[in-house]
């Protein structure tokens, strides 16, 4: 169970003008700038749930996850994960939590994965039986049995990500934070990682928070999504609802002699707008369809939620 109550995080940075002159100036006068990475957000997630956290770069996703993992201290607000306060850095909490970052490696680069796994076994005090069982299960489902004895730096990006996943799940965490686990992977590797997360989730029922820029990940894995914009939540609810909420809009794809363009129009104005287009352009093809989830989320990320 995760409970977040009016959580706020501010970063203080100093503005430096570019160039040598700017550096010299900032020696004497420093202008402070406070960036609000999280603006009083609240959230509740229950056991077994998997939640997709979506937002543009800098919207605050990673900050939120790092606070939940106990890496970053919040400025104010309350957080409880499985009854623990993450930034008290309780070892009991750390033992049932896992963080996987697609952009940062945790396994020893120059060594075979199995060596890192043995170290993790020691760190998490995983008992022999569970370790063997988990190793077997994870390498089987991820299909990396033959890569465990190869030095990690010699593996492909996709294989490496699978090894990272294994390393993070050996201690069978109850809370999992997945920060862009599919970033940079090719389509088939993305799919494999996705399939794995899905089957892991249904087998062990952890709480999972997933961030990703690939809508495919979100659509496949997350029945519930939270959309972030500039440090706040703009939507929190079922993924399926989002299409209904924006159901009052239609998309038009118009092809004329010289170009193709797309429009989103309120349903009630559809007839008027369409005839206007026919009058003003030399239309070859016109297509009316419901907005896709990708389009809706993109527009929420840009403009926030608006009721039509």
């Amino acid at each position: 169970m995760i409970k977040i109550n009016s959580l706020t995080k501010n970063y203080t940075t100093y503005i430096k003008e570019p160039g040598l002159k700017g550096s010299f100036k900032s020696l004497f006068i420093r202008r402070k700038k406070v960036k609000e990475a999280l603006k009083s957000v609240s959230l509740e997630i229950s056991q077994g749930e998997i939640v997709g956290l979506i937002g543009a770069n800098g919207a605050g996703k990673t900050t939120l996850i790092k606070i939940l993992a106990g890496i970053v201290f919040p400025s104010s607000g309350e957080v409880s994960v499985m009854g623990f306060n993450p930034w008290e850095r309780n070892n009991q909490y750390r033992r049932c939590m896992s963080l996987i970052m697609g952009q940062k490696a945790q396994v020893w680069w120059d060594l075979p994965a199995l060596d890192t796994f043995l170290l993790l076994k020691e760190i998490y005090e995983i008992d022999e039986k569970l370790y063997k069982e988990n190793l077997e299960f994870l390498s089987e489902t991820l299909m990396v049995k033959d890569q465990l004895k190869t030095q990690v730096r010699k593996l492909s990006l996709g294989e490496r990500m699978k090894i990272e996943l294994m390393a993070s799940l050996l201690h069978r965490p109850k809370v999992i934070f997945l920060d862009e686990p599919t970033i940079g992977l090719d389509i088939s590797a993305q799919k494999a990682v996705r399939e794995f997360i899905k089957s892991y989730q249904s087998e062990f029922k952890p709480i999972t928070i997933l961030t990703s820029h690939y809508m495919e990940d979100i659509k496949e894995l997350c029945p519930r999504i939270v959309i972030m914009k500039e440090g706040g939540f703009v939507y929190d609810g079922p993924l399926s609802n989002i299409q209904k909420m924006m159901g009052d809009e239609k998309c038009l794809t118009v092809t004329t002699k010289d170009s193709t363009f797309k429009l989103t129009i309120p349903r009630l104005e559809l007839a008027a707008k369409t005839s206007e287009i026919f009058q003003n352009h030399d239309v070859i093809d016109l297509n009316i369809h419901d907005p896709s989830i990708e389009n809706i989320i993109e527009s929420i990320m840009k403009y926030g939620l608006h009721s039509t």
Binding site: Y11, N57, T62, K66, A69, G70, I71, V72, F73, R89, N91, Q92, R94, R95, M97, S98, L99, M101, Q103, K104, Q106, W108, D110, L111, D115, L118, L119, E122, I123, Y124, E125, E180
Partner: protein
């Protein structure tokens, strides 16, 4: 405690299997360090051609001191220096994340995870120099004194580590700690001088907040001429206070850690 020893054995295994792969670097470092040892030993031998006593010590007494700081330096190079070299970069680039989520002390992990197998051979050479200087020592000495000297030098290596951390931890607040670390290497030469040559406030600094004199000079004096109880107590309490200071600064630093990222 037992768990941390076990973890350390893993680090050892990792480091040796890695070192075997990079053989050129391996040989190069050993040659460099042998030159460093040679220069240190030769310097004092040459000085003693012109005088009988330096800071109240004869050549053979001075050799005990030189062997002592070479040993501390070798311990530092073998156990800590690779880790501490990278630590400020990790802090700035936000690479502490994976260390901070583990159920073990992050400070322990970050301080000793890279055992420098390359320097290990030099540690052995330093031990030889140390044994040699003891064998060549003609004054009477007791076994307890030798035992005490070794313990104090291990404590000295720990002090050396703590002073380095004192220079590194500001990285949580500033962009770069290169300045502090350069300062450390400049002042660090104080470790290689007998403490008697420092007077006044310089002496106070080198025996309290930047206790370079407590690393090898005090221990050598303990072996050669004995230390008063008060000096011994001073040495141990400064080590302890510095340790507590580092632990609390580390905690404060983590509060400020912003984990730069994508």
């Amino acid at each position: 405690m037992k768990r941390y020893l076990k973890l350390y054995l893993h680090f050892l295994r990792f480091s040796f299997s890695k070192a075997m792969e990079f053989r050129l670097d391996f040989t190069f470092r050993i040659v460099m360090d042998i030159i460093y040892y040679f220069v240190n030993l030769a310097l004092f031998k040459i000085l003693f051609l012109h005088t009988d006593l330096i800071a109240g010590w004869t050549l053979e007494q001075m050799m005990i001191f030189v062997a002592s700081y070479l040993l501390v330096d070798a311990i530092n190079m073998t156990f800590f220096s690779t880790n501490l070299w990278w630590l400020p970069y990790y802090i700035n680039k936000g690479d502490l994340d994976y260390y901070l989520i583990r159920p073990v002390s992050a400070l322990f992990f970050l301080s000793v995870r890279e055992f420098s197998a390359n320097s290990f051979l030099n540690l052995i050479i330093a031990v030889f120099i140390f044994v040699y200087s003891i064998i060549n020592y003609t004054q009477p000495w007791e076994v307890e004194k030798l035992f005490g000297l070794i313990l104090l030098l291990i404590n000295g290596a720990f002090i050396y580590y703590l002073i380095q951390m004192l220079m590194i931890i500001p990285a949580f607040w500033t962009q770069s700690t290169r300045g502090f670390i350069d300062l450390f290497y400049t002042l660090g030469l104080a470790m290689e001088r007998p403490d008697r040559i420092f007077k006044g406030w310089i002496r106070i600094i080198f025996t309290t907040i930047l206790p370079f004199s407590l690393i090898a000079s005090f221990p050598a004096r303990y072996f050669i001429e004995g230390l008063e109880e008060l000096s011994l107590l001073h040495l141990l309490s400064v080590s302890l206070v510095l340790w507590i200071l580092i632990l609390s600064l580390w905690k404060k630093g983590l509060r400020n850690y912003s984990s730069a990222s994508s």
